[in-house]
């Protein structure tokens, strides 16, 4: 009985991770401008990759009885570095004067960023 529950949970983790990666890819296709695309891609794919790695970690822990420290490190690493990558990409795009979506109503950074020519 426990076996079935654990296997179900592991499978659910991996499938949920794959689902979030699919959502990230769909967001990348369907979002109107670069900033909403980075929004979709960085958040959904981070969660998807983390859930998949967590599923793999749980699988090896359950099946072979050892905790793979590299997977734990990978989860922490993806969790911290992907949002920073998204931040850097969208800030570089904003500095390069990439246009916002035409239905955007608010640009909070308009006056705080002096859009530099020498990016």
């Amino acid at each position: 009985m426990t076996e079935t529950i654990v296997e179900f949970l592991i499978g659910a983790l991996v499938l949920l991770g794959a689902f979030f990666c699919l959502v990230a890819a769909l967001g990348l296709m369907r979002m109107p401008d670069l900033f909403t695309r980075t929004h979709a891609a960085s958040k959904a794919s981070t969660l998807g990759v983390m859930l998949t790695l967590l599923g793999v970690l749980a699988f090896f822990w359950y099946e072979d009885g050892y905790i793979n420290a590299r997977l734990v490190l990978g989860i922490i690493f993806v969790f911290i570095t992907t949002p920073v990558a998204g931040h850097i990409i969208s800030r570089a795009a904003y500095n390069m004067n990439v246009p916002l979506w035409e239905k955007t109503v608010q640009d909070d950074l308009k006056n705080s960023y002096s859009k530099s020519k020498d990016v």
Partner: protein, 140 residues
């Protein structure tokens, strides 16, 4: 105008150590698992380059005051020396051996002389990668 990169700099400061520690792990497990001197050296230079992306060459030269060209020479000498060491025991060039030792914390550990050769490979890879990046990055 220099915009502030505080998010990237904080990430680089804290995560450079994680990358370099993992590269040492990969370097040391190269005997029994995937890894070794080449990939370890590449990952160490990736950690240094992460620091370089967030800061600049002046900061890197203060943090790591090494001329990377000298690192290449030290690495080659280490690798050749590990091959020449086999002459002391009257066996052919580059003959390697291993043995089991009781270390204080680690307990029974297998130590192989191939690790010395791998250290040479590691130093050469770090030195060459950083020299290439340096000579491309600093030529204005």
């Amino acid at each position: 105008m220099r915009t502030n990169d505080i998010i990237l700099q904080t990430l680089a400061k804290s995560f450079m150590f994680v990358v370099i520690a993992f590269s040492f792990y990969v370097f040391l497990t190269g005997h029994h698992h995937p890894g070794g001197g080449f990939i370890g050296g590449l990952m160490t230079s990736a950690g240094i380059i992460l620091l370089l992306l967030a800061f600049d060459w002046k900061v890197l030269k203060t943090v790591i005051p090494i001329d990377f060209k000298i690192l290449v020479a030290i690495g080659l000498l280490t690798a050749v020396g590990s091959g020449m060491g086999s002459f002391l025991f009257g066996v052919p060039f580059l003959t390697h051996t291993f043995g089991y030792f009781d270390l204080p914390i680690l307990g029974k550990t297998e130590l192989a002389t191939a690790t010395i050769f791998d250290t040479g490979v590691y130093l050469v890879v770090v030195g060459i990668t950083m020299t290439i990046i340096q000579s491309i990055g600093e030529s204005e």
